[in-house]
């Protein structure tokens, strides 16, 4: 039995053979008893494999899936809450120096205006005095 004939035999179950390949296989089958035995065994094997396919998981599978999904959504909610808390901490930590800077800036602005006002308040009477003379 040659390898080519075996290959054609196995391929014939799952793919379309060309006309010449089909002829070649039929000739090989009629010439070789071993190939015919192998074909019978292949038929039996394929049937047995198909029969061995599981039809379901253990009883209660759908309930186990539902519970797993429910546990996962609970975990997902906890994880989200944790992430939000963590984000808030970062925002709060970043906000503190910003607030400090704003306070200082605001103080500087207010301070500068007060000095300017004070200068104006003092300058005017002095200027008036100087301009009017004794």
């Amino acid at each position: 039995m040659n390898d080519r004939a075996r290959e054609l035999l196995y391929r014939s179950y799952d793919a379309e053979l060309s006309a010449s390949e089909r002829e070649e296989l039929e000739r090989a089958l009629s010439d070789s008893a071993d190939l015919r035995v192998e074909m019978q065994q292949l038929d039996m094997m394929r049937t047995s494999v198909a029969r061995a396919a599981a039809e379901s998981f253990e009883l209660g599978f759908a309930e186990r899936v539902s519970r797993r999904l429910a546990n996962e959504s609970g975990s997902a909610a906890d994880a989200l809450y944790g992430s939000l808390r963590q984000m808030f901490r970062y925002v709060a930590a970043a906000a503190v120096p910003v607030c400090i800077v704003l306070v200082i800036w605001n103080f500087q602005i207010d301070g500068t205006s007060s000095e300017a006002q004070a200068e104006t308040v003092w300058e005017t009477p002095v200027q008036t005095l100087l301009s009017n003379g004794p």
Partner: protein, 204 residues
């Protein structure tokens, strides 16, 4: 003796099944996407057999297969918003199952590399002579023989012979050319036949 509560529960289960069992697949998917638990339960009910055939065919029976099976449906639930209907739901969920089985197989290989196997442990060997084969049901022999194949051969045999996908569908699920599936099927079946020869000779 059935109590009134048993009868009531059975009636409710039957009502649920009759309400959802006739719905078209796309309607179920659309409803499940909106968070409807009943619709997703019906999807699980319809696809459990197909997923079991794939996962147990790839990994053998047991709690690990059950765990992987559950994870398949959890992943499907998360992926429903992205499911566009380009393939059937069966193909889509089978692709998820194959990927998770590959991960589980890799995990088993890593675990078996860590622990030195006991020389007397013959549990992964398929019985050789026909006398040993008599002691196991045919289904168990087939499943154990499949586990002896390389993953690439096992996948195509499970998809084609156990799941009943066509060669073209199997190629789509595995994302390989059809020719690749055909040649893997041929080689895989040759190897499988060699492993099962004692059983096949006895049967014939």
């Amino acid at each position: 003796m059935q109590t009134q509560a048993d009868v009531s529960l059975a009636t409710r289960v039957a009502d649920f099944e009759s309400e959802w069992s006739g719905r078209p697949e796309q309607e179920l998917v659309d409803t499940a996407r909106r968070g409807d638990e009943q619709a997703f339960r019906e999807i699980v009910r319809r696809l459990e057999g197909r997923v079991a055939a794939t996962v147990i065919g790839m990994l053998g029976p047991g709690p690990e297969a059950d765990d992987v099976g559950q994870e398949v449906f959890v992943r499907l639930y998360r992926a429903l918003p992205k499911f566009r209907g380009d393939s059937t739901l069966a193909s889509y969920v089978t692709r998820i199952a194959i990927n998770l089985c590959r991960n589980e197989w890799q995990r088993r290989k890593r675990r078996s590399n860590i622990f030195v196997r006991d020389e007397s442990d013959q549990s992964d060997n398929v019985p050789g002579p026909a006398g040993d084969a008599d002691s196991l049901p045919e289904r168990d022999l087939i499943r154990r023989a499949l586990l002896q194949l390389a993953a690439e051969y096992r996948e195509v045999i499970v998809l084609r012979l156990m799941d009943g996908f066509s060669t073209r569908e199997a190629a789509g699920i595995l994302d390989v050319p059809e020719g690749t599936v055909t040649s893997r099927l041929a080689r895989g079946q040759m190897k499988l036949r060699a492993i099962l020869e004692p059983m096949l000779k006895e049967a014939s």
